[in-house]
């Protein structure tokens, strides 16, 4: 019941609720068109001005970290897909790299390049979803459908390569799940060739659009110092002028062999973050192009690590060691040494950290996902307090949260 409803039903002699301005509490979410899932933001309004914003999360908490503890290392991969459902391969990669680090395992170059290629495609797909939803939040409807059209092509590549559109679980500990089917690179090429043109199209619709600029420039400003203090990462950090990218700072999976820029903007507002993400799509296209050059046509896609990485199908059928290892891996799992590692990758949303603690058993003792959305969302009140309701929408949009990742 809201303020005037209460008055209407009270029989006490109250003739008006007018009084020294009581703030109006507005529940934005958990069901709301622009909270991207089940985020709930409790807004304290003075007219249309947001005095206080408090994000309330947990509506999608599924206890993935707890579930990981009761699965073997390999089984837990499927759970990681569900964390950030817009960038499942990034999560796969982060987790696999963490376990590989724990094991001290080196992945063959071919698998590394394919991993880079696919995660960059994931980044493009994720940014496309962000662009579309952000644009529709601000009322630009067509961009949403354009970007989903292109994303669909990328999803088709995932389906072609991994057999699944979204929950791919394609990266495995020590390499990849399957040999990519022949002709897959042609598909990738087709998407990559057309992508810059499509990005130009989006930019035509938005970048110099006066309304778009008015809606995003100077909105949700996060200074560089604030960005660091709030621990935001990814495009949000780079939009505030800090050129930090895990792919450059702590290269993993051979990212050091690729040539790409870290796009940054200094304004720290929604427009800056928009520009950064658009530039990132272009950079990712560059990386995918290089990866296509680098990927050898032939070669192993899994590390040579008997007892950890399952042997190939043929080996399993022909050699007794292969059969035994296969059986042991899929019944008991493998045993890494006790210890703790924290592996960081640059997911589309920012710094995805995977902390894995092993106690020397076949199941991880503790897995923690440091998800960028969770931390980035924390900065939301700073972005939108003192501004209008419409800006809250813009701010949520450029924070680019995925609720699966926030709540885990």
């Amino acid at each position: 019941m809201n303020a005037h409803g209460k008055n209407r039903q009270m029989t006490a002699p109250i003739e008006t609720a007018a009084g020294p301005a009581q703030p109006m509490i507005l529940n934005m979410g958990p069901q709301h068109p622009s909270t991207h899932g089940v985020l709930r933001v409790v807004l304290e309004l003075d007219g249309e001005i947001v005095r206080k914003a408090r994000p309330v999360i947990g509506y999608l908490h599924t206890g993935i970290e707890k579930s990981c503890e009761s699965k073997t290392y390999s089984q837990a991969i499927t759970l990681t897909d569900r964390i950030d459902y817009l960038a499942p391969l990034s999560n796969n990669l982060g987790y696999c790299l963490a376990v590989e680090k724990l094991l001290g395992l080196e992945v063959p170059k071919r698998a590394q390049y394919i991993r880079v290629l696919l995660t960059e495609l994931t980044r493009i797909a994720s940014h496309l979803v962000w662009l579309g939803t952000h644009a529709i939040d601000l009322g630009a409807m067509s961009v949403f459908l354009y970007s989903f059209r292109e994303r669909e092509e990328i999803m088709k590549i995932f389906e072609f390569v991994a057999g699944q559109r979204m929950m791919t679980s394609y990266f495995r500990i020590g390499g990849l799940a399957l040999e990519p089917p022949p002709g897959w690179l042609d598909r990738v090429r087709r998407v990559v060739e057309s992508m810059p043109g499509h990005v130009d199209e989006y930019e035509d619709l938005l970048t110099r659009n006066r309304i778009w600029m008015a809606r995003t420039q100077g909105v949700g400003v996060l200074s560089a110092a604030d960005a660091i203090a709030m621990g935001v990462s990814g495009p949000m950090l780079r939009g505030s002028g800090i050129a930090h990218d895990t792919r450059k700072a702590f290269p993993y999976s051979s990212y050091d062999e690729f040539d790409f820029q870290i796009p940054t903007q200094t304004a720290g507002d929604c427009y800056a973050r928009y520009l950064v993400r658009i530039a990132e799509i272009r950079e990712s296209v560059k990386i995918v192009r290089q990866a296509m050059e680098k990927v050898p046509a032939e070669g192993p896609i899994r590390a040579e690590a008997p007892g950890i990485v399952p042997p190939s199908r043929e080996e399993m059928k022909t050699s007794i060691e292969g059969l035994i290892y296969h059986f042991k891996i899929f019944t008991e799992g493998f045993v890494p040494p006790p210890g703790e590692v924290y592996q960081v990758i640059e997911s589309p949303r920012g710094e995805l950290g995977v902390f894995v603690a092993s106690d020397g058993s076949p199941k991880p003792y503790r897995v923690k996902f440091r998800t960028p959305s969770f931390v980035n969302l924390q900065s939301l009140p700073r972005l939108c307090e003192g501004r209008l309701i419409a800006d809250v929408v813009a701010c949520i949009g450029t924070t680019d949260i995925v609720l699966g990742e926030v709540d885990r």
Partner: protein, 158 residues
């Protein structure tokens, strides 16, 4: 096994030079350095690491807990730090006893710790003293128990 060697990590050296008692133990594993800090030194050590000009661990990536039930001290709270300029990571580890687990908050040092601490409070029941709003974050407010503890039944309490 976790190797326990005296690393040449400059951060550890500086921390030790600043206050020898702040470094209880240094663990290096797979190239990651972990400094075990006693609870009472945590806040000061955090401030030092964040503000010392040659270190500048200004970015707190994560706070996470490992429950070593039934060992004591039961909880290991890990702080993952990042020095943006130097591109260096460091893990602070604090051992917290199982009965009445409590820690000083690091929000004044790293404001981002707010939600991380709430999450650890929610899932492990570790209190962060001085936290402005220590409430459950992902679970409902009336939830019983702390699910990521090892003695929490997987089926739940109810």
């Amino acid at each position: 096994m976790e190797s326990q060697e005296n690393d040449r990590n400059p951060a550890v050296e500086k921390l030790r030079a600043w206050d020898a008692e702040a470094v209880a133990e240094v663990i290096t594993f797979r190239g990651e350095t972990t400094v075990v800090v006693p609870v009472r030194h945590l806040r000061a050590a955090a401030e030092f690491l964040a503000s010392e000009p040659s270190l500048r661990y200004s970015f707190l990536s994560d706070i996470t807990t490992v429950d070593r039930f039934p060992l004591e001290p039961r909880f290991e709270v890990n702080y993952h730090l990042l020095a943006l300029e130097r591109k260096d990571r460091l893990r602070l580890k604090v051992m917290v006893p199982g009965n009445d687990p409590a820690l000083p908050t690091v929000i004044p040092v790293w404001p981002t710790a707010n939600w991380h601490e709430r999450e650890n409070f929610d899932l492990f029941g570790i209190r962060f003293e001085g936290h402005p709003d220590l409430t459950r974050i992902v679970l409902p407010d009336d939830w019983e128990g702390h699910p990521l503890r090892k003695d929490y039944p997987v089926e739940g309490y109810r």
